[in-house]
């Protein structure tokens, strides 16, 4: 198992936001967690990154062992690349400095340069805008920068939190095309989405989260044809 989460519980004060979820991710697999606003999707990702502490449960990775008690900067160095909800670009730093923050732990200038070229190669628009302040980019460009920033450390798993949120329809398609191409390249991705239909179309397996617990899990083609899921999440 590449990533194995067992019985995760997360609390905010006395409120239990995640009430015992277990899920797995294989190498080169794309797994999506869908659910309504407030179901707890982002909380799961933040708990994986160590930003939210687990109340109980374990998180095992093939490449870094148990990580549930590590601080975020150690988890990121082990190979989890985080693409946060709302992109969270550092608005007062330039595009290139934002990428430099993504590659902050790289001490070898040669390797740093290679990764920067790799990201610029994937998103040429970022190279064009390298000297511009992050806050001046359009929503789509910011999303590419957020993805590029996470790629700087060549993460073993990409954690994407609502990458299509707040983007124009055309840009949403662009973002899902990027995810598709990453999938073909063999990235392992955990995708959190409100846009259930599109998320299920680009993923291998899906989990459905309601009020902090999974109410369904299956291969995506089965979820896409499941009547209950269709009614509740796919608007059909």
């Amino acid at each position: 198992m590449f990533l194995d989460v067992q019985d995760m519980h997360v609390r905010y004060g006395s409120v239990e936001a995640i009430r015992g979820v277990s899920f797995t991710l294989m190498e080169k697999e794309v797994v999506t967690i869908i659910g309504a606003n407030g179901a707890g999707k982002s909380t799961i990702l933040k708990a994986l990154m160590g930003i939210n502490r687990l109340f109980s449960g374990t998180i095992n990775t093939k490449f870094g062992g148990q990580i549930q008690n590590l601080p975020p900067h150690r988890i990121s160095r082990l190979g989890l690349g985080y693409i946060p909800e709302g992109r969270e670009i550092l608005s007062r730093l330039t595009v290139e400095d934002n990428l430099a923050i993504g590659g902050y732990v790289l001490t070898d200038r040669q390797i740093f340069k290679q990764r920067l070229d790799y990201v610029y190669d994937k998103f040429p628009i970022l190279k064009e805008r390298r000297g511009q302040l992050g806050g001046t980019l359009s929503g789509g460009e910011q999303q590419m920068l957020a993805i590029g920033r996470a790629l700087m450390l060549l993460p073993k798993i990409l954690l994407m939190d609502e990458p299509s949120l707040g983007l124009a329809p055309l840009v949403v398609s662009l973002v899902f095309n990027i995810i598709k191409s990453f999938r073909e390249e063999g990235y392992s991705i955990l995708l959190i989405e409100q846009n259930a239909k599109k998320a299920l179309q680009v993923s291998d397996r899906g989990y459905v989260l309601e009020n902090g617990v999974f109410v369904a899990k299956d291969r995506c083609q089965n979820l896409l044809t499941n009547e209950n899921i269709k009614k509740a999440y796919l608007g059909a």
Partner: protein, 290 residues
Amino acid sequence: MGLIFYFQQLINGIGLGCTYALVALGYALVFGVLNVLNMAHGDIFMIGAYVGLFAILFLGNSPILAILLSFTGTFILGMVMERLAIRPTRGTHLAPLITTIGVSIVLQNSIRITYGPEQHRMPVESAILSFGDITFPLILIINLVVSILLMVGLALAIRKTKMGKAIQAVAENAEIASAYGIDVNRVMMTTVGLASGLGGLAGVLLGMTLGSISPFIGINFGLKGLIILIVGGVGNIYGAMVTGVILGITEVFSVTFFSSVYRDVIAFIVLIIILLLKPTGLFGEKIRVK
């Protein structure tokens, strides 16, 4: 009382202003990065002056050595304070205000009890430099050069160095910075250390320029630094620098033209006018409240 006199006063004002600016810079750095008002900053300034005094008394009359030691000493003091008094309160707003007031009380009284509450003379060699008719005490020139170098150096370091970029990233969004491998605790500790080092250095520079210090100089300078922070635009280091120099010049000239009795009155009128014209502070920007 010709032009030369006013020129000398202007330099005096800039010298005092640089001290204010260095103090305010410390507040701005800590507030910008940790979102904490460090109420002990004025007393770290005072400790810096005393470290300098002890260096001069026991290690010989070298202003440069005194400056280096007080910077290093207060840098370490700041890091210890972050670890013991600020980090445990992370995530709360009022607690660090109280804990740093506690640190301030401890610092002030530890000097008062061990060394006495009175004014202490700072025996610095006061060589006079003269350029034609214009004369300056050497120490004022050292004060100016060191302060300006430090401020320029800090501004460059924050923009260009890796640690500087990490500090900017943590200031804007600590959660995100940590998710990309930046050790936020280390960055915050370094920031408080740096801010305290600047404050301590301002203390020893002021002590040497004035020639005497007391355990209570931190109260006045701490308060003025705080006011400069607000007038300059909270958390903005350039605002802190410019406003500090404006305050220094205003104070010196209000003594020159009126009387020392009105010094603070006139200085604060100027600052209030700035705030009336620009309520966000000189370099402040409106921010969105989440």
